[in-house]
C-alpha cells in the first residue's frame, strides 16, 4: 500500500513528540518514515475484522500488593540528579506566556 509522508506531516509529528528537529533531520525523516511505513502498512491491508487487539501478553487485571509502608527514594539523592533545583523542588523555565 503506498504511503505518502510529507514534510508537513513530519513537522506536525515532531511537535507532538516535542522534538526540535533541524532542517536536515526533517528532510531525512520524511523519506525514511515513508519507507518504513510502507513496509509496516502490510498489516493495515489485512482483513482482521472480528480479531480482538492484544495490548499485553499477560491477562492482568487490577494487580494489588499489600499496603505496607516502605522507605521511599531518598529526596536529596533524587534532587541531586536534576539539572536545576530550588527549595527542594525541580526548577524549570517559565511555563505560561506572561514574562
Amino acid at each position: 500500500m503506498p504511503v505518502r509522508i510529507t514534510r508537513a506531516d513530519v513537522e506536525h509529528v515532531a511537535r507532538l513528540a516535542r522534538l526540535a528537529l533541524t532542517e536536515e533531520e526533517i528532510e531525512q525523516l520524511t523519506g525514511e518514515l515513508e519507507t518504513i511505513l510502507e513496509h509496516a502498512a502490510a498489516v493495515s491491508t489485512l482483513d482482521l475484522a472480528g480479531v480482538p487487539p492484544t495490548a499485553h501478553p499477560l491477562p492482568l487485571v487490577n494487580v494489588l500488593r499489600a499496603d505496607v509502608v516502605r522507605p521511599p527514594l531518598d529526596r536529596a539523592e533524587v534532587l541531586a540528579q536534576a539539572p536545576d533545583v530550588e527549595d527542594g523542588r525541580f526548577r524549570v523555565p517559565r511555563i505560561l506566556d506572561a514574562p
Binding site: 509529528v13 515532531a14 507532538l16 513528540a17 522534538l19 498489516v43 480482538p52 499485553h56 539539572p83 536545576d84
Partner: protein, 473 residues
C-alpha cells in the same frame, strides 16, 4: 574464562578466592577491551572491593550464594544505584540512579561481582550496537563485524572472556540475536518471569531481562537467580518458578519438536544458517525427539506489527526525558522549547526515528490503521502459536538470518537493519520464552545460533532442549 558454575563452587568451598577470579577478568578486559569496546564503564575498584567482601564472608564460614565470586557484566540500561546508567545516550549524561534494578540486587545478593556496565544501541533500539552515543562495540570473533544488538556489549563481554555471564534485555531479539552473532548462549524468558523493575523502559509490553553465558548450564544458573515474582513489578508472574538447573540433563526423549517453516524460508536466510537448523533438528531426533515441520503463518507479519507496536510504546515511554528531573538540559525560553531542544540534542538518530514513527502510528487518524491493526496481528500470532503448541513441545528456527555482518553494512538503511530481527520478534509479541544456542559456523567461519522457542513458562523444557543441542555439537 572458567564456567560460572565452577567459579561459584570453588569460591564457596574456599578452593579459590573471588579476588583471583576478578583479577583474571580485569586482566582480560585490559588486554582486549580497547579493541572490543564492550563496556560503557568498567568498575575495577568496586569489583575488587566486592570480591574481597565475598572472600571475607567465606572466611567467616558464610555462604555468599550460588553466584559466589562470579564476575557479571550488566547492560547499561539496568539501573545501578549511585553508578552511572547511560542507556548509551547523551540524554542521560551524568545520571546516577537513586535505586538499583531488582535483577541487580538479586545477582549481587547471590554473590555475583558486577564488573562493568555494557554498551548497547541507544535505549536498546537497534540490532548492531552501532547506535551507541559512545561508539560501536566490535565482535570478538572478527573486529570488522558487529556483535549484534541491542545487547551487543553484554554478548561481546562474554564472548571475549571479560565475564563468564552477563545480563541483557530483549524487546524484539536484543539478547538472542547478539548471542547468536557472538557465539554465546542468550535467553529471553517468558514475559513477567523476570522483574523489569529498574530496567529503563523501551516497549513495556515486550521488554524482558535475561542472561548471557558461555554454556546452557551457566545461563540456567543465572536464570534461576533472577527469575521470580517481585512486588515492585506489577507485571511479574506471581508463581514462584521451579529451578531449571536440576532438570537440564533430563534429555529430549519423547519430546515433539517443530521447525518453523516460515522462518526457514524467510528472505535473506544464509544457506549455512538454514543448514545449522536442519542439523539441530536431526541431532534432537537422534537424541529421541520427534521432529517435524510446522507452519506459523502469521510469523511473517510479526516484523511489521513489531515496528509499529515497539515504537508506539517507546514514544510514550521516552516522553519522560524532558530535561526536568535528570540528565541533560538544553535551555529554552519556556518549558516547551527547553523540552524540545533537550530532546533533539540528547537523542541519537535511531531513537528520534522510532519516537517519530511511534508518535505517527498513535496520532489521530492513523491509530486504527497502524497501531490497532498491529495489535490484532499480535492476537493472530498468539493464536498461531497456541495451535502449534498443541502438537509440539518446543519449536526451532534460526536466531538470526545471517552471521555477524560488517560494521556500517546496514547503518544507512533502517529497514534492512530491522529485517535482522525477523526470526526473534514473534516470541516477544506472544510473551513467550526463547533461547539462542551456538550451533556450528557459517560464512567466514563465524558462529551461527539456533533458536529454541517454548510456550509461556516453558523454560524447563526449553533449557533441556538447548542443553541437548549443546551436547550434540
Amino acid at each position: 574464562m572458567r564456567a560460572a558454575l565452577e567459579i561459584a563452587t570453588d569460591v564457596r568451598s574456599g578452593a579459590r578466592r573471588a579476588r583471583e577470579v576478578v583479577e583474571e577478568s580485569l586482566r582480560a578486559i585490559e588486554n582486549r577491551e580497547p579493541d572490543v569496546h564492550a563496556f560503557t564503564l568498567v568498575l575495577r575498584d568496586e569489583a575488587m572491593a566486592a570480591a574481597d567482601a565475598i572472600d571475607a564472608a567465606v572466611q567467616r564460614g558464610e555462604d555468599p550464594g550460588p553466584l559466589a565470586g562470579v564476575p557479571i557484566a550488566l547492560k547499561d540500561n539496568l539501573c545501578t544505584r549511585g553508578v552511572p546508567t547511560t542507556c548509551s545516550s547523551r540524554i542521560l549524561d551524568g545520571w546516577r540512579p537513586p535505586y538499583s534494578a531488582t535483577v541487580v540486587d538479586r545477582v549481587v545478593a547471590a554473590g555475583a561481582v558486577v564488573i562493568g556496565k555494557t554498551n548497547l544501541d541507544e535505549f536498546a533500539m537497534g540490532s548492531s550496537t552501532e547506535n551507541s552515543a559512545f561508539g560501536p562495540t566490535r565482535n570478538p570473533h572478527d573486529l570488522d563485524r558487529v556483535p549484534g544488538g541491542s545487547s551487543g556489549g553484554s554478548a561481546a563481554a562474554v564472548a571475549a572472556g571479560f565475564a563468564p555471564v552477563a545480563l541483557g534485555s530483549d524487546t524484539g531479539g536484543s539478547i538472542r540475536q547478539p548471542a547468536a552473532l557472538c557465539g554465546v548462549v542468550g535467553v529471553k524468558p517468558t514475559y513477567g518471569r523476570v522483574s523489569r523493575y529498574g530496567l529503563v523502559a523501551f516497549a513495556s509490553s515486550l521488554d524482558q531481562i535475561g542472561p548471557f553465558a558461555n554454556s546452557v548450564a551457566d545461563a540456567a544458573l543465572v536464570f534461576d537467580v533472577i527469575a521470580g515474582p517481585d512486588p515492585l513489578d506489577s507485571t511479574s508472574i506471581v508463581d514462584v518458578p521451579e529451578p531449571v538447573l536440576p532438570v537440564l540433563d533430563d534429555g529430549v526423549a519423547g519430546l515433539r519438536v517443530g521447525i518453523i517453516e516460515e522462518l526457514m524460508d524467510v528472505d535473506g536466510v544464509q544457506p549455512e544458517v538454514h543448514a545449522a537448523v536442519e542439523r539441530a533438528g536431526a541431532a534432537l531426533k537422534d537424541a529421541g525427539a520427534a521432529v517435524e515441520r510446522v507452519s506459523v503463518p502469521s510469523a511473517t507479519y510479526g516484523l511489521a506489527a513489531y515496528y509499529l507496536i515497539a515504537p508506539a510504546e517507546a514514544s510514550s515511554n521516552l516522553a519522560r526525558y524532558d530535561g526536568v528531573r535528570y540528565g541533560l538540559r538544553v535551555d529554552g525560553d519556556d518549558v516547551a522549547s527547553m523540552n524540545a531542544r533537550t530532546r533533539d540534542a540528547g537523542f541519537g538518530p535511531e531513537v528520534k526515528r522510532r519516537i517519530m514513527l511511534g508518535t505517527y502510528a498513535l496520532s489521530a487518524g492513523y491509530y486504527d490503521a497502524y497501531y490497532g491493526q498491529a495489535q490484532r496481528v499480535r492476537t493472530l500470532i498468539i493464536r498461531d502459536f497456541e495451535r502449534v503448541y498443541r502438537e509440539c513441545d518446543v519449536l526451532l528456527s534460526p536466531t538470526s538470518p545471517t552471521v555477524a555482518f560488517k560494521l556500517g553494512a546496514k547503518t544507512g538503511e533502517p529497514l534492512a537493519m530491522y529485517l535482522s530481527d525477523v526470526c526473534t520478534i514473534a516470541t516477544n509479541l506472544a510473551g513467550h520464552p526463547a533461547i539462542s544456542v551456538p550451533f556450528g559456523t557459517g560464512e567466514a567461519g563465524l558462529p551461527v545460533g539456533v533458536q529454541v522457542l517454548a510456550p509461556a513458562l516453558g523454560e524447563p523444557i526449553m533449557f533441556r532442549v538447548a542443553k541437548a543441542l549443546e551436547d550434540a555439537r
